[in-house]
């Protein structure tokens, strides 16, 4: 788990160079790479019944967030995409390795650190901008802080996560990231987009 070169975090080449796009003097949205984290896909190997769900949760050693939510604690973020599918993230890969003993009897733990390119969007116009990307209801009541969804963005699947009221992370499949982020820049430019390193 600790064999990745931190100097080659999975954002190289997919992001446009730092700069400003759109109307001069206006910055409604800031696009930056999301922090590089080690990521594990934890897939329950059997359908979870009521007892199975308890056992699965217990194996994490802490409460699992509900489906469609993420939760942070002790340097470990758990993203619950489905009843039996959790993405575990940590800046310290060893933190993820520690999950193996308890979870291995129930689930497969697959390293997906390099499978995605993740970006962070911030700014007062982020919600208006994201309305041009995804079809989800982005009202705080419908997609609150901590919500996560796999959703369509102009024909490709992305992971959308709300960190704050106007802060979102978007995860793209690595192979599609360059093209889709270029499209995203075009979509967000009318709001005044600043791309930062």
């Amino acid at each position: 788990m600790s064999d990745r070169d931190p100097a080659l975090s999975p954002r190289a080449d997919a992001l446009p160079p730092p700069g400003h796009h759109g109307p001069a003097g206006r910055t409604g949205i800031i696009l930056a790479p999301a922090p590089a984290l080690a990521r594990l896909q934890i897939e329950a190997r059997r359908p979870l019944g009521p007892d199975g769900e308890d056992n699965f949760a217990a194996a994490f050693g802490r409460p699992l967030p509900p489906v469609g939510r993420c939760a942070d604690a002790d340097g470990l973020t758990l993203v619950r995409l489905a009843p039996g599918r959790v993405i575990a993230e940590a800046s310290d890969p060893d933190r993820l390795a520690a999950l193996h003993p308890a979870l291995a009897p129930l689930a497969s733990l697959i390293d997906i650190t390099d499978a995605h390119i993740r970006i962070r969007l911030d700014g007062p116009d982020v919600v208006d901008g994201l309305r041009r990307l995804v079809r989800l209801d982005l009202d705080l009541g419908a997609f609150p802080i901590g919500a996560v969804a796999m959703t369509g963005a102009h024909g490709v699947t992305v992971e959308l996560r709300r960190l704050q009221a106007t802060t979102f992370d978007i995860g793209y499949s690595r192979s599609m990231a360059a093209g889709e982020i270029a499209l995203l820049v075009t979509l967000l430019a009318p709001f005044g987009l600043a791309v930062t390193a």
């Binding site: 990745r4 080659l8 975090s9 080449d13 697959i110 499978a115 102009h154």
Partner: protein, 991 residues
């Protein structure tokens, strides 16, 4: 007045004149004008030529109902045809041109079509252009193509972008007239999420077009007050310049927003349009009502206009549509207009009412002008524009001089959107119009769209509709205090054309945009096309861009009279989306140019670009096809070099696009045994094996390799083209067919960069890459061996000795983020061995030389027996496709089976797709014995080779047949040979 512009009033800014051009003629309008109002203000009476007969036409309406004023707007790449002048905001520099005329609007040669009216009657194309048959393609079709169509597309790439966006709301309100404003206000004050969509540039609807008073404020002032409150409500989104075009299942609406630049013209920075998808839990359709014209002989003469449109031009744009008006009406609304015209100083020659008596309350009008009741319009005079109107009353014909005839035949509630979900409107005799009986899928009509024409009723209806809609959602909305208004005169009587009407039926136009006359409707009845849907399609009535807003009901009424049925019995056709025109660019949205479809790049794409690789589109992937060196200008030279280099030395190619699926768990082996036709559970740890996967119907789905890294961990490598399909198939098997198995299936294709290093010198290159320095020999790492190890100083990697080329070869995978670093390291350590980068073309040549089937052979129509892989089919266990793959039809040796072909003449070139025909037989379907699936030039052998499927192929080795290509015109003698052309014993992989 100056021209037709009134000296005062209107919502125009006289301090801001706006220059524009129409048919090259410079004109001036005012800020706040539409193109139509500006043309009227300048006294332009003829704005176009009709579709079929090229009759001169003037403005009829003031909005989307306009059938005549279709224009080309803009120039160059931004020229847009068929735009209604009534919907164009006037802006400086606007260039507008009339359509459908040659050489000019004033003198149009094609007006000769009018002389052929009897020939061009409804449905003429079902009865003509049939004889002689040879004329169809040579004479009739070219002529019809030249004559048909309306407007010209620019033919140039669209320089503008359009956006797509999504909004969610509790309540969508369509239309911001009085009913829509009250609906939005009631819902917004209740805290509901509201979207108010208004097609116009400002809110108000009819409040901007009529002289009304609401609590002592006039219409525009009241609308502005409500608009200000709506803008301040935090849960209300107001979209102006936004036309709602359609409604779909699940509360999904499409609406098109036009973005304007600072001068009101189309936006040139940012998107030109936004196509909104609005997800609404409930909706209020407050789109108003459209006035019906009167149908009579000569009703299409320029100068004949809808009374409501005249009112709009008068009140909103301060334009008198004429200097001397006749108002012909079946409604009280006509009298209101007459009163307003007189108040504005316009001469009113007469009010002609089809009813027997004038309505009460208009005595002052009656005193100021001539009144004729119980009248019918008999015709119009003037060329090309109106100069007089003929009226029949009491058996007398009255001739009136006028340059404006304002007509009002009644009102049709605008309910097109509500019929998009399949519900048909029903005729309401009390209202004299078609309307929806009740809510449709959560959509409520309100205001005039609901038949509430009185202003007070309209306001109340809008608020009530919102209240009811929110109640559906468990929300409570209070009714707002409604302003005090004067009662609106709403009296009306039916006034439809009948065969007894004076004047020729062929001169009484029902659908102005498609030149459909009362005579055409009569003809349709005569010929048996009597239902509403048949009438529409046979005559094309209602099928133009105005969707029959001013035509359909009149046409139905004529048909009802002819058939002796009521309008209720006749029914109405369903309106179909879009209700407002949608530019194709808006539908495409941001997916255009380089973003037309998603593009997938491998982790080593940058390396390939640096080396000037020529890329191939392989699905969404960009794959290097070959790597030309400086001086190489012919692709075949490059590919031959790459093949030779790999066969003699070593090469590296990017195979990151292969699908990679991790199968993990105690039952992983058992699961794979069910999915694959052979037996992956018997693969030892640290080994790979070729795998064959069947579909349920017994045909081959995919091939690939399965590698075992531990007792419970496997990696399936599947072909690029089938990666998604195989993954879906595996998920289906796991979740649906065998959910009790203790196994997981996870796709990790994008997580890994993968390189194939091939050639007799590949072991040395691979050995130099490994951190642990292990030797790579036929003994220590034989073909099909596999291992997890590290490279690049500690980076985890997966190595498998698999070959697609027939040479000793390896596939090395690392996490995608270090893929670029790996390939550069491979090139560095391979340099002393003369390593070359090679692309998919060379890969393809080598696999054909080796006889490996690929996508062209695994095309979904071939079986394991066809491919010569039937020995892989395990007989002692069940797997997907086992039963049906044993069908006699799939195992018949007479089926075309995989063989190799080589040309008798070594210089001949073979092509994929050619048919295999026996020597001496004619090239017919009966003699077709197979086809060539893959063909390449083999630099190794010095001639072309092919893989083909040939009937009884394996039993015909050495036989000479023909490769016949009827498309390219070749017929090449070939010899049937085994499919492995190079190293058939497989010795080269074992070095």
């Amino acid at each position: 007045m100056t021209g037709h512009r009134l000296p005062a009033g209107g919502l125009v800014d006289r301090a801001r004149p706006i220059p524009f051009r129409f048919d090259g003629r410079p004109l001036t309008g005012l800020a706040g004008d539409t193109l139509a109002s500006a043309l009227l203000a300048n006294g332009v009476s003829v704005v176009g030529r009709s579709f079929k007969y090229h009759r001169p036409r003037g403005l009829l309406g003031a909005g989307q109902e306009e059938p005549n004023a279709l224009m080309e707007i803009g120039t160059g790449a931004r020229r847009e045809p068929n735009v209604k002048a009534t919907t164009v905001e006037l802006h400086a520099g606007l260039e507008a041109a009339s359509q459908n005329r040659w050489p000019s609007l004033r003198f149009d040669l094609m007006a000769v079509n009018g002389l052929m009216k009897p020939v061009f009657a409804a449905g003429f194309y079902y009865k003509t252009f049939m004889w002689p048959a040879r004329f169809w393609e040579t004479v009739y079709e070219p002529l019809i193509r030249r004559a048909a169509g309306l407007g010209r597309a620019s033919g140039l790439p669209d320089p503008d972008r359009d956006a797509h966006a999504t909004l969610h709301c509790d309540l969508l309100v369509v239309g911001a007239g009085p009913a829509g404003l009250m609906a939005a206000l009631a819902a917004g004050r209740a805290g509901a999420r509201v979207v108010l969509a208004e097609e116009d540039v400002r809110l108000g609807g009819r409040l901007l077009a009529e002289k009304v008073s609401l609590d002592d404020a006039d219409g525009p002032a009241f609308a502005a007050t409500v608009a200000a409150e709506l803008a301040a409500l935090p849960t209300v989104t107001v979209l102006t310049r936004t036309g709602v075009s359609s409604v779909h299942d699940g509360g999904l609406w499409l609406a098109l927003e036009r973005h304007a630049g600072p001068d009101g013209g189309p936006a040139t920075a940012g998107p030109r349009h936004t196509l909104w998808t609005i997800v609404a839990r409930r909706a209020v359709a407050a789109a108003g009502a459209v006035e019906r014209p009167l149908v009579f002989a000569g009703n299409d003469r320029p100068g004949v206009m809808l009374a409501g449109a005249v009112s709009t031009y008068l009140h909103r744009h301060a334009v008198a549509a004429g200097r001397r008006a006749v108002v012909a009406t079946a409604t009280d609304a006509g009298w209101v207009l007459a009163r307003d015209l007189l108040a504005a100083g316009v001469s009113v020659a007469a009010v002609v009412d089809t009813r027997q008596a004038a309505p009460t309350g208009f005595e002052a009008v009656a005193a100021a002008t001539r009144v004729v009741t119980g009248a019918a319009l008999a015709g119009t005079r003037g060329r090309p524009a109106l100069t007089g109107v003929d009226v029949v009353a009491d058996s007398r014909t009255i001739r009136l001089d006028a340059d404006l005839l304002a007509v009002s035949g009644g009102f049709n509630p605008s309910i097109q959107l509500m019929s998009h979900l399949g519900d048909r409107p029903a005729y309401d005799p009390a209202l004299g119009a078609y309307r929806m009986a009740g809510p449709v899928a959560g959509i409520r009509a309100a205001g005039a769209a609901n038949g509430a024409y009185d202003l007070a009723a309209c306001l109340r209806d809008g608020a009530a509709a919102a209240q009811a809609a929110l109640a559906d959602l468990g929300l409570t909305a209070a009714l707002p205090d409604l302003p005090a208004t004067d009662p609106t005169p709403v009296g009306a009587a039916a006034a439809y054309w009948t065969p007894k009407a004076p004047g020729k039926a062929s001169a009484a136009f029902v659908d102005l945009q498609h030149d459909v006359t009362a005579a055409d409707v009569t003809l349709a009845h005569q010929e048996g096309y009597r239902s509403a849907e048949h009438l529409k399609r046979y005559t094309t009535l209602g099928m133009a861009t105005d969707q029959g807003r001013t035509a359909t009901v009149d046409g139905l009424a004529i048909m009802a009279a002819l058939t002796g049925r009521s309008l209720a019995e006749t029914g109405a056709p369903i309106a179909r989306p879009p209700v407002v025109p949608l530019p194709i660019g808006a539908l495409a949205g941001p997916r255009r140019g380089a973003a037309f479809r998603p593009v997938r790049l491998t982790p080593v794409h940058g390396f390939a670009e640096e080396r000037k690789a020529v890329f191939l589109d392989s699905g969404a992937w960009k794959r290097p096809q070959w790597y030309p060196l400086p001086g190489e200008t012919d692709w075949l030279t490059t590919v031959n070099r790459e093949v030779a280099a790999v066969r003699a030395g070593v090469g590296v190619t990017d195979v990151s696009t292969l699908g990679k699926i991790e199968i993990e768990g105690p039952d992983a082996g058992a699961f794979l045994d069910k999915v694959y036709a052979n037996r992956p559970s018997r693969i030892p740890v640290g080994r790979s094996r070729y795998g064959l996967m069947l579909r349920e119907d017994g045909f081959v789905l995919d091939d690939g390799t399965v590698t075992r890294f531990s007792e419970t961990r496997f990696l399936a490598s599947v072909s690029t083209a089938h990666a998604a399909a195989v993954y879906r198939h595996m998920l289906f098997c796991r979740q649906v067919l065998w959910p009790s198995l203790d196994v997981s299936v996870v796709a990790v294709s994008d997580a890994w960069a993968q390189l194939a290093i091939a050639g007799p010198l590949s072991p040395a290159v691979v050995a130099a890459l490994l951190d642990d320095g292990r030797p790579i020999t036929a003994e220590t790492f034989p073909p099909m061996a596999a291992a997890e190890l590290t490279v690049l100083g500690g980076v985890k990697a997966r190595l498998a000795a698999v070959s697609f080329s027939g040479e000793r070869a390896f596939e090395l995978a690392v996490p995608a983020s270090v893929g670029d670093r790996l390939i550069r390291q491979v090139m560095a350590v391979g340099a002393p061995h003369g390593i070359v980068a090679y692309g998919t073309e060379a890969m393809g040549v080598m696999r054909v030389e080796k006889g490996h089937p690929a996508a062209a052979e695994l095309n979904g129509q071939t079986t394991a027996h066809d491919l010569g892989l039937h020995r892989l089919l395990a007989r002692d266990k069940d797997h997907v496709g086992r039963v049906l793959s044993a069908r006699p039809g799939l195992t018949d040796p007479g089926r075309p089976r995989l063989v190799g072909l080589k040309p008798v003449d070594p210089a001949a070139r073979l092509r994929a797709g050619a048919h295999v025909i026996p020597a001496g037989a004619s090239a017919t379907a009966a003699n077709d014995q197979g086809w060539i699936s893959s063909a390449v030039w083999s630099p190794t052998l010095g001639h072309a080779i092919a893989l083909a499927f040939v009937t009884h192929g394996p039993d015909r080795m050495g036989e000479t047949v023909r490769a016949w290509d009827g498309i390219r015109g070749t017929d090449i003698p070939v010899v049937i040979v085994p499919p492995a052309f190079v190293d058939p014993e497989g010795a080269r992989v074992r070095v």
